[in-house]
Subunit: 394 residues, 2 copies
């Protein structure tokens, strides 16, 4: 049979990163290309305890069908917690439990975007979200990112040029891949521009709790008196990504449409993991757990940055980070970046070429992304040393 | 803010059944409207054992990110098992683990259907799947179902009339809601028609293992030498629906596109539940478990049908079933069926009006659906007795 595919998926390609993973399955290759949280940060003992208790005391709740909106006690907890801790959520907002943050991008897209509509994102930005927007046949327009976040002048120009813009997608904390955090002034400016041009903001915040240095900044959602921000949260980086539990807090009217889409997409999120997350955040010391995580990542990030300072700088520069999982390294502009990344694989180190994160494949970048949370210290040391030797020969 | 939604979701409504659930949250109302498997059929003890072992011996596998395609040992087991037991799957096929069968409908739709394409389904059919097809702005055309399955003459006429038909959606075993099983002759005829008109078949088989009487019939997929059948399987009815584990076996070329869509939709299915399912089917006696399930459902279905014979027949007739979870009851044609269902709620019994399952809301039906797996025997007895009293006054 000759298969014909829908227009929207004709040109879709598997995530470039997932393709790169194929190299990293070679055990002799050091992978600095993943985005996995550090396994030593998983609360294994607590999850095992909770799981044993659930399956003994109330197994049917964990095994029977649940509500599409999510496990009610978890939704109530998150509403309250996000309101108290981050001033996120108003009486006009509702909450939906999703498969990590990834499903939020899909459900917002499906609910809001027609083919040909525009999504504005930081350039570079997270490939997983960009691919979701692409999968609805939309137009992706990137706005350059500066050391304090999105270039707001360029954002306004883009909003003027793109009458079909419906969504601004931003990762304000320790952005993937750049590691950049948006300043408070810019958070306010982006909010005002979205309001002025009647565009929704998706504020994707998977790394916000992984700040190991500096002051926490308010979420864009905390200014949201107009119902224009969809706040995207996730337990993937703070409890476990394999559980696939995320949550979106946004205008009830939009959430309702997303719930209908979700009914037809997966019915609801695995009940066991929702109950485990709820028990973990309510019956254990979640804040203490976050502090421990921050300590794990402070150590790993500091170790990685020291290695970069020693081996790569000044030939290769990078943006110092205060949290998150990624470091964005920039090659001299005369160097062929894709070739550098291919050569790195030949030298048994895997990094992600910056092109993977650009709104358009033709958008220029001289950078590549490295991850420090997945590799061991030994792997980091060996991998960055090899990159350093390559840097010397540039 | 004034929200504008995408064309595809403008007219989408929450599942009529989920709306009916609101009545059934009233504890004084007997719900015969659900579709939940019987909780006494869940292998609770085994799942608790497996879970404890996984979280002790290899917790990171259960908690870290996994592959979009699914947990490799589970995929390998299912490929082998479905090939050996049901002759399902060829060398040109691949397998993808999904969130129950529901996500299969979404991923096939997203990969194959453009807006305005036609999906042909049995009329009535499963509302969850129909709503997913609708959510891609497609045209749903129903083909009448006869006591031995889809009317194949009407199917051919529909294929002639619908040049943009891309998919035939069928539930060949104990169809939801009709309870009807398609004969072997018709399975072959539907396959030949799909081949002749170059249309994919989605063979949705969530209830196949719940046959408690009569001979198992071959899957349509077992004839599939041409790569035109997507076989949709699920653990929801045989292990646990709250785990959200299903699987699709189909042409590798189509599965590849579905994998790309799934990357952007939810990344992958919860790892814990995939590993639990794999351990359950490989380390315990899965066939024995299925026999036990069949015994549970034989008892419940027989009990329900005896009550229907006693209280409803001949005023209300129904199709005798050999498996599955549902019974389709037909009112005399002069009776106002929606009013009957509303009156039933007033009398504290909840059933699903047949209109919920029709391809078009205007398609005629005089039937309603009852479920016998979720209520207790006492609830069944009380609920059907009330319906019987209503039937006497028709």
């Amino acid at each position: 049979m000759q298969y014909t595919f829908s227009d929207r998926v004709q040109s879709l390609k598997p995530s470039a990163i997932r393709e790169i993973f194929k190299y990293s399955s070679d055990p002799s290759v050091i992978s600095l290309s993943a985005g996995n949280p550090a396994p030593e940060a998983f609360p294994v003992k607590e999850i095992a305890e909770i799981s044993e208790r659930i399956l003994r005391e109330d197994p049917i709740s964990a095994l029977q069908y649940g509500l599409t909106e999510g496990y009610t006690p978890l939704r109530c907890f998150l509403k309250d917690y996000m309101k108290k801790k981050h001033s996120v959520g108003t009486d006009n907002d509702d909450i939906l439990i999703t498969s990590g943050a990834q499903q939020i991008m899909d459900l917002v897209s499906k609910s809001i975007l027609n083919e040909g509509d525009t999504v504005i994102c930081e350039n570079p930005s997270f490939i997983g979200s960009l691919n979701t927007f692409r999968s609805y046949n939309t137009r992706l327009v990137g706005v350059p990112i500066e050391p304090d976040g999105m270039d707001v002048n360029a954002l306004e120009q883009t909003l003027k040029n793109e009458p079909k813009a419906k969504i601004i997608y931003t990762i304000p904390n320790f952005q993937n891949p750049s590691g950049i955090t948006m300043s408070l002034e810019k958070r306010k400016a982006v909010y005002e521009l979205a309001r002025k041009y009647n565009v929704l903001i998706i504020e994707d915040n998977p790394y916000g709790d992984l700040r190991f240095r500096g002051e926490f900044l308010p979420c864009i959602k905390s200014f949201d008196t107009d119902g224009i921000v969809m706040y995207s949260g996730s337990f993937s980086k703070v409890i476990s990504p394999g559980m696939r539990v995320g949550y979106v807090i946004g205008p009830a009217e939009v959430i309702q449409k997303m719930v209908v889409c979700k009914q037809g997409q997966d019915v609801h999120i695995n009940m066991w993991s929702q109950i485990v997350c709820h028990e973990f955040v309510t019956k254990y010391d979640f804040d203490k757990h976050l502090e421990n995580l921050q300590e794990v990542y402070r150590k790993k990030a500091t170790f990685a940055m020291n290695l970069l300072d020693k081996h790569l700088v000044p030939n290769i520069t990078y943006h110092k980070i205060d949290g998150g999982l990624f470091i964005w390294c920039e090659l001299p502009h005369e160097v062929d970046m894709p070739k550098f990344c291919t050569d790195a694989v030949k030298n048994k180190v895997c990094v992600v070429p910056g092109t993977a994160f650009m709104a358009q494949e033709t958008d220029e970048t001289h950078s590549f992304r490295i991850n420090f949370s997945t590799p061991t210290d030994e792997q980091l040391e060996k991998g960055i040393t090899i990159l350093g030797e390559m840097a010397k020969n540039l």
